[in-house]
């Protein structure tokens, strides 16, 4: 890859441990190209007087780059800082289906996201 400023806007990366499946990005996306599946899990109460906790577990997070127009609204609206711009841009595919990046692919782009510290 040629030298680019490290905050260039190439592809969108997912920091999956920050995602709470809140759906805000999928709802704000003007292209409707973010697909999220999740389910609820209940953690048993810990200690006396405590209640069981419900949390959302992410099952699927995918961005269809055949539709995405790289506007960055999803990154902007994410309340949890789970989406980032990565400077990597060479993700062309020979098949249009290959442009749908599932979670496993989206998390790999985090490797080139500049540190926020």
């Amino acid at each position: 890859m040629t030298a680019l400023p490290d905050r260039s806007r190439g592809v969108i990366a997912l920091r999956e441990e920050s995602c709470t499946s809140c759906m805000v990005c999928a709802r704000e996306c003007p292209d409707w190209c973010i697909y999220i599946d999740s389910h609820k899990e209940t953690e048993p109460a810990t200690g006396e007087g405590a209640r069981p906790k419900t949390r959302h577990v992410l099952d699927r997070f995918a961005i269809d780059y055949a539709l995405c127009m790289y506007c960055g609204i999803c990154i902007e609206v994410c309340p949890w800082d789970a989406l980032f711009w990565s400077p990597e841009y060479d993700h062309a595919a020979g098949d249009v289906l290959g442009l749908t990046h599932e979670r496993e692919t989206l998390v790999t782009w985090m490797r080139s996201v500049p540190s926020v510290d």
Binding site: S21, C22, M23, A26, C29, I36, S38, H39, T54
Partner: protein
């Protein structure tokens, strides 16, 4: 050059539309950049044209408002032939007309298309044809009843 030089917008009554454009051309604004419109609700349809001076590297915006129903403006094609496509598109998208246009056919919409897609009351039917990914609630994998923004309840529109 300041931002104001680029953004300077002149508002004119629709009766003065052609004359104002003609004056701009006379003052060296020789390049017709674009013409479009926006739905300004009760204030009518606002039509905007941007004219550029190649010599002075200076742009001017011209704006006017016409009625939502039956709004008419004189064509600018006699000043700049290139305005023809812009006016055809603006006419079909907003439901207004340009008198004296040499070829007032729709530009992009197919024959018999019903409605004016860039007016606020136009429902985006394509947003109903595809399932909205945002219809799911957090913690769910099956779409709920949530409707996408801009789509009214079923049964209140369409046929």
């Amino acid at each position: 050059m300041t931002l104001d030089d680029f953004a300077a917008t002149r508002d004119v009554p629709s009766d003065d539309w052609y004359e104002a454009a003609s004056e701009l051309k006379g003052s060296g604004h020789d390049f017709f950049d674009w013409l479009s419109a926006y739905d300004d609700s009760d204030a009518g349809v606002a039509v905007v044209a941007r004219i550029w001076s190649v010599r002075d590297r200076h742009g001017a915006m011209l704006r006017t408002r016409v009625a939502r129903e039956g709004g008419l403006l004189p064509t600018l094609t006699t000043l700049w032939e290139g305005a023809a496509w812009h006016e055809r598109e603006t006419a079909e998208m907003f439901g207004i007309g340009f008198t004296g246009h040499p070829d007032p056919r729709p530009l992009l919409l197919p024959d018999g298309f019903d409605g004016h897609p860039l007016r606020k009351e136009f429902v985006l039917a394509s947003r109903v044809a595809k399932e909205w990914p945002g219809a799911k609630e957090p913690g769910e994998s099956v779409a709920g009843r949530k409707r996408p923004p801009g789509v009214p309840p079923a049964g209140t529109w369409g046929s």
